[in-house]
């Protein structure tokens, strides 16, 4: 063994170990980045709040001079003149803002007049942006909560206008859109895929036509998802717009688009599940005088259930991760009120929308990414479990 050969061997082995380490590192780098940037924003509020901040401008009803007593909350600055507590906090972009922590029941801020003379309230969790006074300088956010509290407590100051807003940045709308999308897509794609698979595996003759059908379905796997998006806007959006109350992009069209993307996966997985069912079961059923339809639906299909379950998990994982096709079909407008007849952004598109904003909201995108990855992880475990139980059943029977 020459020295050169030995060194070459060591170098090649080194590259091999190096590559494996790089791959592992890639995973940790991605997970690490997403978690580090998004974890701090993860909260129950995030899942239930609106995305868009609502801004309000209002005036006080009457300047009653009731003095309020401090309810004893540690945080923040108590404005005894109006019975509210405000505190400094940071928003998602890192700027300092003023949050309303507490509002007394009888506080005048609980019954403000907005521009349409309706009564609205300043609620806990909202942000106090600005207070203007007659003949006194305005209280601004950038001076901090302490300064604003001082101004408000000042008996000389008479409030002209109060500007406040909800926090926004919540993903409730997108979360609901995702759930609607999953539900609709599964309702369309699963029956379609399963029945197609049943036909191909149980009823179809072994001829050229069947082979053609199969190969046509297989070619769908090589089509990039953005092309399905084009299909969605040319075919599904107009169809749904004319058949339902939808007008333009809508979630149903999105579900139809996703269904086409999922067809090959569902059909392939279901066919595999059907193929694994032993022929003895089919023969036994037929020998008892059942016809082919009964055999298929009462005997074969039930045995393929765990395979179908696997297909479902795979489908859901694909739905959650899909972005390009849905960007085309659904657009990128984030909605807080979601209806299946209108467009909305599922989680993946929500990330796209935030990332293509100026400036890109990496923090909140990472938080949504954590949610997506967690769901995908759970689904993967689900797939592993269902495959495990499927194998166990096969070895027992």
């Amino acid at each position: 063994m020459t020295k050169k050969v030995k060194i070459l061997g060591m170098v090649l082995d080194g590259f091999t170990y190096f590559s494996a380490i790089l791959t592992a590192l890639a995973l940790f780098m991605i997970m690490g980045f997403v978690f580090r940037n998004g974890f701090s924003l993860l909260s129950f509020d995030l899942l239930t709040k609106d995305y868009h901040a609502n801004h309000y401008v209002a005036t006080l009803n009457e300047d009653e001079s009731i003095t309020f007593t401090n309810p004893g909350i540690d945080e923040g600055y108590f404005v005894e003149r109006y019975g509210i507590i405000i505190n400094d906090t940071k928003n998602l972009s890192g700027d300092t803002i003023i949050e309303v922590i507490y509002v007394e029941e009888y506080s005048p801020f609980n019954a403000l007049n907005n521009q349409n003379d309706q009564i609205i309230a300043l609620e806990e969790g909202m942000l106090l942006s600005r207070v203007t006074y007659e003949e006194h300088p305005t209280s601004l956010t950038n001076r901090g909560a302490y300064s604003m509290a001082e101004d408000l407590n000042n008996e000389d100051r008479v409030i002209r206008e109060v500007m406040f807003s909800t926090v926004g940045g919540g993903i409730r709308g997108s979360l609901i859109a995702t759930l609607y999308l999953i539900g609709l897509t599964l309702m369309i794609a699963m029956p379609f895929g399963i029945l197609s698979a049943v036909y191909l595996n149980e009823f179809a003759p072994n001829n050229k036509l069947t082979r053609t059908i199969r190969s046509f379905i297989e070619t769908l796997t090589g089509v990039p998802s953005i092309i399905f998006g084009l299909l969605g806007i040319t075919v599904f959006v107009p169809i749904t717009s004319s058949l339902t109350q939808a007008n333009g992009s809508n979630l149903i069209a999105g579900a139809l688009t996703l269904s086409v993307i999922l067809l090959p996966v569902i059909i392939r997985t279901t066919e595999e599940a059907l193929r694994v069912v032993p022929n003895e079961h089919r023969f036994a059923s037929l020998a008892l005088g059942a016809n082919h339809t009964q055999t298929t639906f009462k005997v074969v299909l039930p045995q393929a259930l765990s395979g179908i379950l696997t297909a479902t998990f795979l489908a859901i994982g694909r739905i959650i991760g899909e972005s390009a096709a849905l960007i085309f079909v659904l657009g990128t407008a984030i909605k807080d009120r979601v209806s299946v007849f209108e467009s909305a952004t599922p989680l993946a598109v929500h990330i796209w929308s935030m990332m293509t904003d100026e400036p890109a909201n990496i923090a909140l995108s990472s938080t949504v990414a954590i949610i997506i990855l967690s769901i995908v992880l759970i689904l993967n475990i689900g797939i592993k479990l269902s495959v495990f139980f499927w194998n166990r059943k096969r070895s027992v029977s």
Binding site: M1, T2, K4, V5
Partner: protein
């Protein structure tokens, strides 16, 4: 007679199962030694000890002594690569690499660092002649090895092993995957090769052992039951068990 291998009290375990029990054996130079016995008796395991191919299997433990060519007991810290250059192996199913005939045979020398084209060509032709394959393939050495017949492929594997110029050639049931005519050709080849090489051959066929070997070792259930000159084993075996096996009463 010159001993090539001296094996003393060799034991081999696959995890908890003992596959070889207290094997004492000598392999003599330039002789053909056949290992016979029923399936699972340990003869393949034994032959793989001689070129340390068992090292590749998980859970294998050995103790005892295998002395190659009067060197020290080589169960620990032995240069395995070097050993395999001097002890070659041919397997049961012909396994040529998916390369040309030339590249197959040149593979071993190339891995040892031989680059000179002329040297390689010389080695390839010489090995092919020794393996009695040259005449059949000399027109196109760049042809794929996989296009040869089963018998030719096995002779190619023999040529491939011979290209390393080993001292010993181990053969693990080399003809069991071949037809009778190919088998005959290879048996004739083996008989010729013993002039230059020491050969140890595992065989399932009693007839083959009787035909070509000088010494025969009968293995049973991991033990070496009888070992003697082939003539004696087949004409006057000492153990009844040996006689029963040879006459086909079991195994």
């Amino acid at each position: 007679m010159d001993k090539v291998f001296q094996i003393d009290d060799l034991n081999l375990f696959y995890d908890d199962f003992q596959a070889l029990k207290h094997i004492d054996l000598e392999i003599y130079r330039n002789k053909i030694t056949a290992l016979i016995g029923p399936s699972g008796c340990g003869k393949s395991t034994f032959i793989r000890c001689l070129n340390r191919m068992n090292d590749l299997i998980d859970g294998v433990k050995m103790d005892g002594c295998i002395r190659f060519d009067d060197e020290v007991c080589n169960l620990d810290g032995y240069d395995v690569i070097n050993l395999r250059k001097r002890v070659g192996m041919v397997f049961q199913k012909p396994n040529p690499f998916p390369m040309s005939i030339f590249d197959n045979i040149a593979y071993g020398p190339r891995r040892q660092g031989v680059k000179d084209k002329a040297t390689l060509k010389e080695t390839v032709i010489k090995s092919l002649k020794q393996a009695a394959l040259y005449d059949e393939v000399k027109d196109d050495l760049n042809k794929s090895a996989l296009s040869l017949s089963g018998g030719q492929q096995q002779r190619l594997c023999i040529a491939r092993a011979l290209a390393m110029e080993p001292e010993v050639l181990l053969m693990d049931e080399p003809t069991s995957a071949l037809d009778p005519i190919a088998t005959q050709k290879i048996e004739a080849l083996i008989s010729e090769l013993k002039e230059k090489y020491t050969i140890v051959i595992v065989t399932h066929s009693m007839q083959q052992a009787a035909r070509i070997s000088d010494y025969t070792a009968f293995f049973y259930m991991g033990e070496l039951r009888e070992y003697d000159a082939t003539d004696k084993i087949f004409k006057a075996p000492k153990l009844k068990q040996t006689e029963d096996y040879i006459t086909g009463r079991f195994g």
